[in-house]
Symmetry: C2
DNA sequence: ATAATTCCTAAAGCTAACTTTAGCTCAAGT
DNA sequence: ACTTGAGCTAAAGTTAGCTTTAGGAATTAT
């Protein structure tokens, strides 16, 4: 039975649209921290619906779960977060989102210059300068673009 | 020995800054198709330097290797691509990049509206409408955001 | 002629963000 | 009391984009 302010993982899944397995996974990642009832089942708070909603939105923005966990860490822990609390941490995203858009725009502008020449060569093309977008996805070492250079005739 | 227009994988790696293993992987993905010499070693064309440069740039833009392969498919196969050919397929990216920037901008604007209210609730928040950014990364099924809704008090 | 490089293949490993499976326990409905 | 339906854990599987490892074979340098 669900008590006034407690909901089961299934209910939470229905309300957020997330899969039950995803919610469990989020718990292992420290994004939610449900209590347990006598039988060992997870009991979430209703406010976790909004918490997970926030996670979903942040993901749309392309943030990683690690980063999202950090931001969530800035919510007050002693009381249930209110609209203003959510509003505050959303501003963090706003700034990063702006930077992302700016970076992508810079990249596009460089591409414009390069479409004219069709060069795309490592030493002369502006696209190779590393001030670009965040990058760093996948795994393992990503190589910085050095200037080993393409010879003019290549 | 490398003949006039043929280079080894090591040379290609040096010229592009890519790891040898990455180049081999790109071959499995159909992004380059080197010939082999008598001893079974790969022989690339000098023009593959530019080809891989293009791949690297496209990745900066966030395109997947699958998508990049498609775009590369539009290059002429009978002759070595010239500046104009590269310029042409770059325009494809330009358009998609614009759309990406636009989508991210729309998302940011919605966030602006939401920062004011701090709602983030599934039924009323504009951030939940699915016109947003490309998404679809990671693996497995991603759930479309339905409107199961959060009740006002949640 | 050798030693030192470079290259080759196949298979396994890695990260992120989850899902799927297997086997079992809890809780709810009748 | 019993049968479903939820939930639980641990481990393995998935995708993308590569790297690492292992064990040989081809090249290049001396």
């Amino acid at each position: 039975m669900e008590r006034r302010n407690e909901i089961s993982i299934g209910t939470l899944a229905n309300r957020t649209g997330l899969a039950v397995s995803a919610i469990r996974y989020y718990e292992t990642q420290g994004l939610v921290a449900p209590e347990r009832n006598a039988g060992g089942q997870r009991r979430f708070l209703r406010s976790d619906i909004r918490r997970l909603s926030f996670v979903m939105i942040a993901q749309k923005f392309g943030f990683t779960l690690d980063r999202i966990r950090e931001v969530l860490g800035r919510l007050p822990e002693k009381r249930t977060p209110n609209a203003n609390d959510w509003s505050e941490i959303s501003k963090d995203f706003r700034a990063e989102l702006d930077e992302q858009i700016a970076a992508l725009t810079r990249l596009r502008d460089k591409l414009d210059g390069c479409i004219g020449c069709g060069c795309l060569s490592l030493d002369r093309c502006a696209l190779y300068n590393p001030d670009d977008v965040a990058a760093e996805k996948g795994s393992g070492p990503r190589y910085l673009l050095g200037d080993e250079a393409v010879r003019p005739e290549d």
